[in-house]
């Protein structure tokens, strides 16, 4: 194997040393050397004009980059309640047993490492794993055995059955957005007629609100950015890290044209000349197609210089692949990540619309928002407002997973009651539904008349169904693990609060919890909500406080006998990043 510094130099030669290329360079070293040793960090630091410590800081931040080499075959199982329902734990155990490796460790010969990673966005076709970053869905014991064999034979991934890597589209219920045929360039032509103000006016009239979850009016965002002085940028948030969300995965494949066109419209409105599409690393399998599509649009005159022949209408788009950090879906953290920094959220104000990428006014929108914007320009605001409610216009893509007969992607008008969604996906009588993923709301059957809408149950698209036999406490405990693992560590309440919450939930699940622990959980929830720096910390207690409020009897049943005594217990080790450190 070539030396790590050689690989580093090679990667730098290929990608260049613009700050946005830092992650790409680190990815390549990681892929080829299975780790990024200090010698390679030094080469990278020198080339990028950064300190070694800073590069070390960046590497340590992301789950998919490691200083200490991982296995030649680095396997990460998707750690999501839905995957676990499907027998993930047994599969992990089976693979580890066959390969003779402990979870979270690298095998002595360096051949293989097995660990878990946060939800990979394949919950509709899980259980799933990533091997060297490539997704294999629909695992079963037989496939696990074959994988173990292939690894022992040291077969390159190219020789693994290609069908394994196929990710199904999983569209169950298309609606206006998914059904309309793409018309490349058409929306841009219309935009040239309407002018930037006309485009804005149309989007404003449509009432389009951000599809990433927060629901900020898209037109307002574009307008603020347009009005801010200086050079502008347009960024697409395709980080889709919220467990149970996978609708962008399909939009990125099936509506690529509308997406890029939507971004180009944003550029047209704001005057941005450069855009970035930030793709979560778990969706690396989409990168080649996306790059190809972007290249095709360049040749077709729909991207690049003088778009559609209009003098001065220049906009180009670059793909940036993340490296495993849920918090990078937070828009200001995402911008830091694009700039090649640690993905910690910034202080706000100022907001990205006035000071975003490199301090310049920047529009950040979700994949679905850009696509909707494109369709609105094409088909008119009235076409859009025909669906949805007064305050939540249009349709919403839901990613439905868990205990239902028909998991997959559903496009439904805003305002659809949860009960109707449950019928559509044939869910029977669930104990509860996690709407909007762990950062959203966990609701119980009495609330199934509530509606999917910003004014009621807001969601970035996740809809996880939990059947009658599932234990809400165990689910909340898994989500508390997720938040502790994904907290960026910047601010005290979330860095420490999520870890405390995880410990308390483990204690309760272990039958050692007390009434005092339940009170402590409630207090922690309040503190994180009040004092945290970003949305991750604000919502990190949602699964716990939602289930505490709705399923007190499940918690009570888990408490230890009458005694109010805390028990000595060992703090749990976080096995995930451990491979790199203590192995």
């Amino acid at each position: 194997m070539p030396d790590a510094t050689e690989i580093a130099r090679d990667a730098i030669a290929r990608h260049g040393t613009a700050p946005v290329q830092l992650l790409a360079v680190l990815h390549e070293i990681q892929r080829r050397y299975h780790g990024i040793p200090r010698a390679a960090m030094e080469v990278v630091a020198r080339a990028f004009g950064r300190s070694v410590a800073e590069v070390e800081g960046v590497i340590g931040f992301y789950s998919f980059l490691h200083e200490r080499p991982h296995g030649e075959y680095a396997i990460s199982f998707s750690d999501c309640p839905v995957d676990r329902f499907l027998g993930q734990d047994e599969l992990i155990e089976r693979l580890c047993r066959q390969l003779g490796v402990a979870p979270g460790q690298v095998r002595d010969d360096g051949r293989v490492s097995v660990e878990t990673t946060s939800c990979t966005g394949l919950c509709d076709q899980g259980p799933a794993l990533l091997v060297n970053g490539r997704a294999i869905p629909a695992l079963d014991p037989g496939r696990i055995d074959t994988i173990a064999g292939l690894i022992e034979q040291r077969r390159p991934l190219e020789q693994w059955p290609g069908a394994w890597f196929r990710v199904e589209h999983g569209i169950r219920h298309p609606g206006p957005l998914l059904e309309a045929p793409e018309q490349p360039g058409k929306a841009l032509e219309l935009a040239l007629e309407l002018g930037p103000a006309g485009v804005l006016e149309r989007i404003e009239r449509s009432g389009l609100r951000g599809r990433g979850g927060a629901g900020y009016p898209t037109a307002l965002k574009w307008r603020y950015c347009r009005e801010a002085p200086g050079e502008h940028h347009v960024v697409c948030n395709a980080d889709e890290g919220e467990p149970g969300t996978f609708k962008d995965r399909e939009l990125l494949r099936l509506r690529t044209g509308d997406l890029v066109e939507g971004m180009t419209l944003a550029a047209f409105v704001t005057g941005a000349r450069e855009g970035f599409l930030y793709l979560r690393a778990e969706y690396g399998f989409l990168a080649a197609e996306l790059e190809q599509h972007i290249a095709e649009r360049r040749s077709a005159g729909l991207l690049g210089h003088t778009i559609l022949g209009r003098e001065g209408f220049d906009f180009d788009l670059h793909l940036v692949t993340g490296a495993g950090a849920y918090v990078c879906g937070e828009e200001s953290a995402l911008l830091n990540s694009i700039e090649g920094r640690r993905g910690t959220p910034r202080n706000r104000p100022p907001y990205p619309v006035t000071a975003g990428l490199w301090g310049r006014p920047t529009v950040v929108n979700n994949v679905e928002s850009y696509i909707a914007a494109c369709r609105i320009v094409l088909q008119g605001a009235e076409w859009f407002t025909r669906h949805g409610t007064e305050r939540s216009r249009g349709t919403k893509l839901l990613s439905i997973s868990g205990d239902c007969a028909r998991p997959g992607i559903y496009e439904l008008p805003f305002g659809t009651p949860v009960g109707e969604v449950l019928e559509l996906c044939d869910a029977g009588e669930p104990v509860g539904v996690q709407v909007g993923g762990p950062s959203g709301t966990f609701i119980a059957p009495p609330e199934f008349a509530r509606r999917i809408a910003y004014e009621d149950l807001s969601t970035g698209g996740a809809f996880m169904v939990f059947g009658p036999d599932r234990d809400p406490v165990a689910i909340a405990a898994q989500f508390s693990h997720f938040f502790a693992h994904e907290s960026c560590g910047f601010c005290t309440p979330c860095r420490v609060g999520t870890a405390l919450q995880q410990r308390l939930m483990e204690r309760i699940c272990g039958g050692r919890g007390t009434v005092a622990d339940l009170q402590e959980l409630e207090q922690l929830a309040g503190l994180m909500r009040q004092a945290s720096h970003c949305g991750l910390g604000h919502t990190a207690a949602n699964p716990v406080s939602d289930t505490l409020a709705r399923y007190p009897e499940y918690y009570q049943a888990r408490l230890q006998g009458a005694a109010l005594q805390p028990q000595p217990g060992r703090p749990p080790a976080d096995s995930r990043k451990e491979v790199a450190r203590d192995a």
Binding site: S51, V52, A53, G57, R495
Partner: protein, 244 residues
């Protein structure tokens, strides 16, 4: 000058000032650990959490606006700050009796100020690496609270000796040197970065017990008075982000 209300007192401010800067300038203490008048605000410790027009906000990063109603002195906020301080204690290894910073430590003094008599939460007892490689400066990561003051100070001095690595509860301070050890870095005992640590994580060696316990900074004055006296004259020294 425009003004806002802080606990019922009106506080004048210059446009561009944060709530913290205006308050300190007006002689009103708002608790803080990661804020320092000479550096751009960080916003991470959250000790400065106040209530602005009914919503929580960090005083150190929030620009002052005319007419804001700011509450800092409520019992609810004291409790919140107490819990945050206790969180900082349990996530590291803070054994004050064996710490040379004791009496001069802002975290400890914050505990005193907030009436903290225990750590409330279960302790993490993390295992963090001690770096004793530098002849004049000791780095005891056990006591680091991730305020990044050393990072900011060293960056401003043009050396960028420090950075944070890791994520979440695994966050750790790393050193810019070929070996990753402090002794091989450019840090000098005279650097501002060597003296800025609010806790006992970065300490200048051979200075520890010159002033006996019981006669140290916060043995003599509360962190509120001490902070106002020391930091008020420094206001306005911050010159914005100092990258590159």
């Amino acid at each position: 000058m425009p003004e806002f209300l802080l606990d019922g007192r009106s506080v004048p401010f210059e446009p561009g000032q944060t709530v913290m800067e205006a308050a300190i300038a007006a002689g009103i203490y708002i608790p803080h650990l990661c804020w320092h008048p000479a550096f751009e605000p960080h916003g991470s410790c959250k000790l400065c959490t106040v209530d602005i027009d009914g919503r929580p906000a960090s005083a150190c990063t929030r620009p002052a606006e005319a007419g804001m109603q700011v509450t800092s002195g409520s019992e609810a906020l004291r409790r919140l700050r107490l819990r945050l301080t206790q969180m900082l204690f349990v996530e590291g290894n803070h054994f004050c009796p064996s710490c040379e910073k004791s009496g001069d430590c802002e975290l400890q003094a914050m505990g005193y100020y907030l009436g903290m008599t225990d750590n409330h939460y279960p302790h993490f007892y993390p295992r963090r690496e001690l770096d004793a490689s530098h002849p004049d400066i000791l780095l005891d990561r056990d006591r680091c609270i991730f305020c990044e003051l050393c990072v900011r100070a060293s960056r401003k001095e043009g050396k960028s000796v420090f950075a944070l690595a890791g994520r979440g509860p695994q966050t750790r301070l790393v050193i810019n040197s070929p070996s990753g050890r402090l002794g091989d870095s450019e840090l000098d005992a005279g650097d501002e970065a060597a003296g800025i640590c609010p806790v006992g994580a970065i300490v200048r060696r051979n200075t520890a017990y010159r002033v006996p316990i019981g006669q140290r900074r916060y043995d003599l004055a509360g962190i509120d008075e001490e902070s106002l006296a020391r930091e008020r004259p420094l206001l306005g020294r911050a010159d914005g982000p100092t990258e590159d």
